[in-house]
Symmetry: C2
Subunit: 499 residues, 2 copies
């Protein structure tokens, strides 16, 4: 994409001033409209060293209302960021609806600068492109406008700019030895950038290569692009409101071969055996936790299940002997307003554990394809694409070394009723049962196919669903503990072998 770029373009001073003023006025008005329509915007600046990113960003933001935007300057990863999957740091920085975030360097650093400096395998590079495209696709389909600029200058121009910076004592410090190294490696860089542009130039988030040797010209190109992109997105929004969504028929799995029907709920374990085995597993788990902490292996455990299935009890037996410094139970309630103003996966991404830690989610991102689907809190198109989005997120986690296990605790309808009634009669537990629980129960038959479809579509080899037979609480708790212990032992075994 960089081959046929004409870098000699300039803007005449007088005409340029008028043009820029006109664009400024348009940008200001469009920013206000986008804000009113609650459109979130991300503007990415990538490009050669000394291509003028800082200057051009500052020029671009001049007409903007500061109440609506924020500039993120992406530096070397912090320690905390290094301890998380790569895209975590960017999920933490997505704008809420109606805000515009501007990125001075971005999630592309890994496939540009870092690719030259570190040695990435071909497989890692492809994987990185996939993660980027997945990230941008999920966000844009959710309503985000992503505008990406690549500022292009020639090798000679870059050299001239470095020399100019070095000639003044006030700016000399800005040119590093690395910069010169990159100038010498310009040609290698060129093909890397070109490959990056080609692989991540998508219909939902296209690249704009900006000829950046003349500041005036570049500024006008950027503002013009911003105007066009905002205008077209705003138009789309107004039209979207009018359109009804197409109805898509799906055939969820059902009958006796469905994952839930296959669960043998008669499984049970005696109290004595339970107590003994529980102790044994808890002891093992405490040691394993300390070992993965040292080995910096992170783990994500998701718990879903019918109301009163025993999620809380299972989590409690799991954490009882753990070190609280290494685990966190993340309870998931219905999203608050600020969370709703983001992509639905945002609030989960931000809570993913750092290396060596365990995050236990009491209810999870699967709410999208269960409660939100059944209750109509999201559209059909939204929950239908969620399966792929969730699989992609979990793949990113497992790729980054996270152990991911998802538990569905299964009970039958009669058992649920028995437990509801028992809770209501116990004064210490009666607060646990609300009107809503009974209402949800009435919708059992709507939830069941949703759960079956979810388990079918999102159980993967690396991030499996474990259906836990839960009519016997003892049996369920032991099965959860056993599964976690075995998964940890398996991973630690592998790691040891590799050494």
């Amino acid at each position: 994409m960089l081959e046929n770029i004409d870098l000699s373009k300039t803007l005449k001073k007088k005409e340029g001033k008028e043009l820029l003023e006109k664009l400024d006025t348009e940008v200001a008005a469009l920013q206000r409209q986008a804000r009113e329509l609650k459109i979130p915007v991300m503007v990415v600046f990538e490009g050669w060293g000394a291509s003028g990113k800082g200057r051009l960003i500052n020029r671009m933001i001049q007409p903007l209302d500061p109440r609506g935007f924020k500039v993120h300057s992406i530096q070397k990863a912090t320690q905390e960021e290094e301890l998380h999957p790569y895209m975590w740091r960017f999920w933490n920085k997505i704008p809420s609806r109606g805000r515009m975030y501007i990125f001075d360097r971005s999630w592309y650093t890994r496939v540009m600068r870092e690719r030259v400096d570190r040695n990435m395998t071909r497989e890692q590079v492809v994987c990185a492109f996939n993660e980027i495209n997945s990230f941008e696709r999920m966000l844009t389909v959710d309503g985000m406008l992503i505008i990406k600029f690549f500022l292009h200058i020639s090798k000679g121009e870059q050299k001239r700019r470095f020399e100019k910076l070095e000639s003044s004592p006030e700016t000399k410090w800005r040119v590093t030895r690395e910069d010169w190294k990159h100038n010498k490696q310009y040609d290698e860089y060129f093909s890397i950038c070109d490959e990056m542009l080609v692989n991540t130039d998508t219909e939902y988030a296209p690249w704009h290569v900006v000829e950046a040797e003349d500041d005036g010209y570049a500024a006008a190109r950027i503002l013009d692009c911003l105007v066009r992109s905002l205008r077209s997105r705003i138009q789309q929004e107004t039209e979207r409101e009018k359109q009804a969504e197409p109805y898509i028929q799906t055939a969820p799995p059902s009958g006796s071969s469905s994952p839930l029907a296959k669960a043998d709920l008669s499984k049970d374990v005696k109290k004595d055996k339970y107590k003994e085995t529980l102790k044994e597993y808890q002891k093992k788990l405490a040691l394993l936790q300390s070992r993965i902490y040292q080995a910096k292996i992170p783990m994500v455990l998701g718990f879903e299940g019918w109301d009163a299935a025993g999620k809380g009890g299972a989590i409690k037996r799991l954490t009882e002997c753990m070190d609280p410094r290494g685990y966190e139970v993340v309870p998931t309630a219905s999203p608050n307003d600020y969370e709703k103003a983001h992509h639905y996966l945002w609030r989960f991404w931000t809570k993913m554990p750092q290396a060596g830690h365990i995050a236990i989610f009491d209810r999870t991102w699967y709410g999208r394809v269960m409660v939100e689907r059944v209750e109509g809190f999201c559209t059909r198109a939204e929950w239908q694409r969620a399966y792929r989005e969730i699989n992609e997120m979990e793949e990113q986690l497992t790729e980054a070394g996270v152990i991911v296990l998802k538990f569905w605790i299964q009970i039958d309808k009669d058992e649920q009723e028995r437990r509801f009634r028992a809770r209501q009669e116990n004064p210490e537990k009666s607060w646990k049962i609300t009107e809503e629980d009974w209402r949800n129960r009435a919708k059992w038959d709507e939830y069941e196919p949703a759960v079956n479809e979810m388990i079918m579509k999102t159980s993967t080899a690396k991030a499996p669903w474990i259906v836990v037979e839960g009519n016997s609480k003892y049996y369920a708790r032991l099965k959860v503990l056993k599964t976690v212990v075995e998964a940890l032992e398996k991973r630690l075994g592998k790691e040891t072998k590799q050494k």
Copy 2:
């Protein structure tokens, strides 16, 4: 406070079990009540190495509902934290109303462990105690319940515990060379801890020294303390709702000697002179920004003023030539629900700039003593104590090396009306004027004494208010630029001299 502690206390197995079960039930019920009453809680665990913090925290959280609490394990500061004033990292971690955060080590690290390892001067230690007390006072008066545990064991017991840990290959790594160093320095540590306890044992956030040689005894003490503290705080809350607030008469400054009246609004500057001086200052500022970036000096600029006084225009002239990677304009709107669920200073603390960066606040924390006071969004007691709270926050910033400047842009009532009308007639600017602006204008005479009182009470030598004569926009913009440039030059001059 540690001298007369009896460390031989234990709990008999049988009685202990019953007692602990009873306490668990009580704690669970009280946590639910506190949550319903929206009481935020912080529980701090400090104490000797190997005193069992992790184990006892995990014991304490067992009866709690995970939807209501979170454990923060305070480790060595991250790079980002190191680049901010010390208390910033803890302001970032305060619970919202109704949540309970448990701290495994806390803001006390600096006056314990770090005090032994680094050499803190007497003055720094006193300053640190003041910062802690100020933090805890602000939060508790705002409704936070703070419970602080110090887990106490003897030198001999600590040694035995280290030896036991070292004897097993699974736990050996937990004992560091530093730990042994600290055991050798036990006596020095003892007096440091004692001094810390005495200096930060306040009526609003008292310490509970827990005899921690026997786990069962310690667990019971902790749960018992938690029960008592929660119960008394809950009782206070229910009573508070009944009490009317006492009325306190204040005499705000007024007349011709008030800060606002003293501003000479006839000050003006010619267009030619303005353009020329503007360029000159902007050029200086761009260089100065790059110098403080290198010198890692942070800066906070606050802008307040009447509607249409020209805050936005002044900020724009300031940032026009800056590097966007080093500054951020932080616009302040009315707080959202999540912000309202925290102390009012929380949302500003979290946005304080890191070393080398400039944060420009378009409206500030002074809203507490202006709009919130005048419109009755907070109680009289709340805005009255805010002067001291704000002064303390700004003192912490300047102590940490931040340059703090606060601008009040002053115009008179006639000038405001002229500007409102001019905006309404200009189609590109008419969106800037809303009904609310006219409503606020009608309350000018209520705002004026509030502004005067604010400037009188919160202008300090290190964080001064600059009243900017704003009837002439040109004059106002230059004055702001000049003040910023001079403040930077002064500081950089000092730093150079010190070297």
